[in-house]
Amino acid sequence: MKVKKISIRFFAYLVSLTISIFLSSQFSLEANAVSYYVGTIKSPSYAGIRANIEPRSYPNVTGSGESCWVSNVYVDDDGMEWLQTGCRYYDGYSGFRTYVESTKAGVYSMQEIGYHVLHYAAPYKVEYESDGKWHAYISGYQKGAMTFSFSSTTVEAMAEAHSSSIELGPFYFTNVNYKSTSGTWYNMDSTPYADSPFHVDITNNYTYKAY
């Protein structure tokens, strides 16, 4: 009788152990503390950025995800503000999804919009316009706009991986341009960089491959 009771308890223990291992594997909290960036930053004060970005294959992003984008970025004592557009690809996605993301006054927002098909160099743009707003464009169509306290700031064109153990892209950035405060577009002249373990192949400062 005692043996039977012990067996049942042992069996119950095994079941609960299996369940907790399963759940912890589903919700493991291994810290992916930082993002890994590959691309260009132009600071301190510019009125826009645009780039054609082309993914050519679906990367292995098991358990994580990545994105490639153009963005303005503003930092002050209250924190960060930005308007960003690009495409993102996460574990379980059937393709790259275009999106617009922003933060202002404590409102964080991210909206997925459509697909970015492989082998298409989609133009993404974020720029300050005469209506006093920053606008986000995907393939020439406005997909978001927001008023900020600044008309010029740091601008970036990046690929971003959310784990060091996934494949990044590759993403082909071409015609990476920034907009001066006078409204003229120039070829990016900051040198692209890559956070380890990722890489960048530079044709010139406005044409590079992030991987």
Binding site: Q26, E30, A31, N32, K104, A105, V107, Y108, G144
Partner: protein, 254 residues
Amino acid sequence: MKAKVGVCFIIFIIAILSILSFIYMFMTSRTAYAEEDYLTNQFTKAGINIETCVYNKVDNSLNISIISDTDGDQINPETIRVMRVARNKIRYELDDLAIVNSSKNYNEVIMNSDRKVLVDSETDILEFPPFPECKKLKECIKESVDVEKLKKQLTNCFPSNYNFDVSNSSSVGTTVSVKLYCSEKNDDEINEIIARLIMKIDSMNKESTNIHQLEISVCTESDANLLLYMYSDLVYRDFLWWQTPDIKTQWTKY
């Protein structure tokens, strides 16, 4: 004589056309005003403190100004809930209104209690994403759901410190509200929980589950302080959230 008759006839036609277009414009603007009033009433009924609700015919934009109950320069979590309710009203309950149907842009202004503009943004909230799971979700919004069964299913799928509540409405579908506790404020832990939670719900939605909206509250275990509040629409893939300024990164980076 014939020429005179011809000229008179043309003038008569022009006059008729002018009167008809005037009547059309009058009726249209009256309809627009009536719809604005109706929408404003709907917002008010839903508890939204609405300052203005105006349809701009020139650029086909629907302009909504909401007064938040925050008095500072940063919104509070309640504002996120209000923004979601407002978007729901526009998307799901009122998309048969002409001012909504013909809107190309949704201009959303959030003010603090002193009427200072905190957020002024434009989004195309009526554009429907082409992803298969969104189509599937939209088709079953009006279906009733076994709330207790779904709650049990969720409880079985997630760790025990996740508290689920499930509600269902014919306008927005099934909303799952999750409240969970973290040991202390930890950017990585919180963001990773959010990212994994969304991934898991997305994967459940690809199978048999239909969860249309997801509301997440993350609190500290010790004193139940709210660290992050998110209210997402999974049909439109529209994520809105607030996080304590102490959290320096976002779940979208995980």
